[in-house]
């Protein structure tokens, strides 16, 4: 072995060690709770998401959920991959300036069955963050409300309702369904009541506004 080849091997070894150390440092220490076979696969998905500008914390949390619940490695990897794909679709629908909570809520709404067009409409309808409207839409669908009815109700309220109004609307729908009302009818009634309440509050605010000279 010549001196040149020795030097080349030493340089390659140093480079590999440096890259390995960097990768290990970049990896989230919380992923140490995953089994050794699952960890690198999840890390690859997370790194890809990071490179694509997607939030990685929801992916870490989904992997940790799987680990804590004792799910098999392949199931954890596929769940993290699916969530990463949903986050990407949500960003496509909502636009590049979307915040991580909005993307996470958007991914859940897409998984619940809402179309990208609904997400885009919500984005246009509301000036404030749309994380809560999206979450309410998802929760309504999870509670048995058809996607179209849930989307129509949330879209109708989104422009003027505060987050708290939307959460109260969802509770009202859940209460009525628990009492035996059909989900679609419960949603329509609760949406009408919430709309009337918001209009009343806004009218009150207008009356209380100081007059102009």
């Amino acid at each position: 072995m010549t001196l040149r080849s020795l030097l080349r091997a030493a340089a390659a070894g140093a480079l590999a060690a440096t890259f390995g150390a960097t990768a290990a440092a970049a990896q989230d220490p919380r992923l140490g709770r995953l089994d050794p076979g699952t960890r690198p696969l999840v890390a690859v998905v997370i790194d890809s998401a990071r490179a694509a500008g997607l939030p990685t914390e929801p992916l870490v949390q989904r992997a940790l959920e799987g680990a804590t619940k004792g799910a098999p490695g392949p199931l954890i990897v596929s769940a993290v991959q699916r969530l990463a794909a949903d986050l990407g679709r949500a960003r496509e629908a909502l636009g590049p300036g979307t915040t991580p909570p909005e993307l996470e809520a958007g991914a859940a709404a897409l998984r619940a069955g809402a179309g990208p067009a609904v997400l885009a409409q919500l984005r246009r309808a509301r000036r404030q963050t749309i994380a809560v409207p999206l979450a309410v839409l998802t929760d309504l669908v999870a509670g048995g409300v058809p996607v179209d009815s849930a989307a129509a109700a949330v879209l109708a309220l989104a422009a003027r309702a505060r987050d708290a109004d939307l959460v109260e609307f969802r509770r009202s729908v859940e209460r009525d369904i628990a009492l035996g009302a059909p989900p679609t009818a419960a949603t329509a009634a609760a949406a009408a009541a919430a709309d009337a309440r918001i209009s009343q509050v806004n009218a009150g605010a207008r009356e209380n506004r100081p007059g102009r000279p």
Partner: protein
């Protein structure tokens, strides 16, 4: 010689004592000049102060002096950031406390696990409710967002929160719930 100089003095005195004829327009001219003089007072003082403040100066500082000033500024910044009695709480991202409650009769331990505590069963143990009975409670501060969570009973049994929406994507075979924290 002496006589001549006395005469000269007398002449000068007479010249000085004669009445002076003043032009009546002088008063007007003087007052006009005064009126056109630049105004003194606050404006001028402010301009002078501004000039003093903005004029570049050379400051000589030893390294030790510079370090002392930097340390003082850092200490002041730390002291100010540590106590702000009148500071308003941040509107965006402000945390709110949520009380989680679950009914778990005959349970020895109950943990609250979710996106807010890295799904770590050791982080948020629930306590038997002071109201008694099979109620277990935990209070967690949450920033606006959507969180998945579940209750872990006796380290092995998973329970969803019956009072909250269920997470639709239960891919791991154990139920989870969702809590949504609004920002407005």
């Amino acid at each position: 010689m002496f006589e001549q100089s006395e005469e000269a003095i007398e002449r000068i005195i007479r010249h000085l004592r004669r009445p002076v004829q003043v032009d009546p327009a002088v008063d007007g001219r003087v007052m006009d000049e005064i009126a056109h003089l630049p105004a003194r007072g606050r404006r001028r003082a402010a301009r002078a102060a501004w000039g003093w403040l903005t004029r570049p100066r050379h400051v000589a500082l030893s390294p030790l002096g510079g370090l002392a000033i930097a340390a003082g500024v850092a200490a002041l910044a730390l002291a100010l950031s540590g106590r702000r009695p009148g500071a308003a709480p941040p509107a965006e991202g402000a945390q709110r406390e949520f009380e989680f409650v679950v009914v778990a009769p005959r349970a020895a331990t109950v943990s609250l696990v979710g996106d807010f505590n890295d799904w770590d069963a050791a982080r948020t143990p629930m306590r038997p409710s002071p109201r008694g009975g099979p109620l277990w409670t935990a209070v967690v501060p949450l920033a606006p967002g959507r969180y998945r969570y579940a209750f872990l009973v006796d380290g092995s049994r998973w329970l969803a929160d019956p009072a909250a929406p269920r997470a639709r994507d239960d891919e791991f075979g154990a139920p989870s719930s969702v809590v949504t924290v609004g920002g407005s």
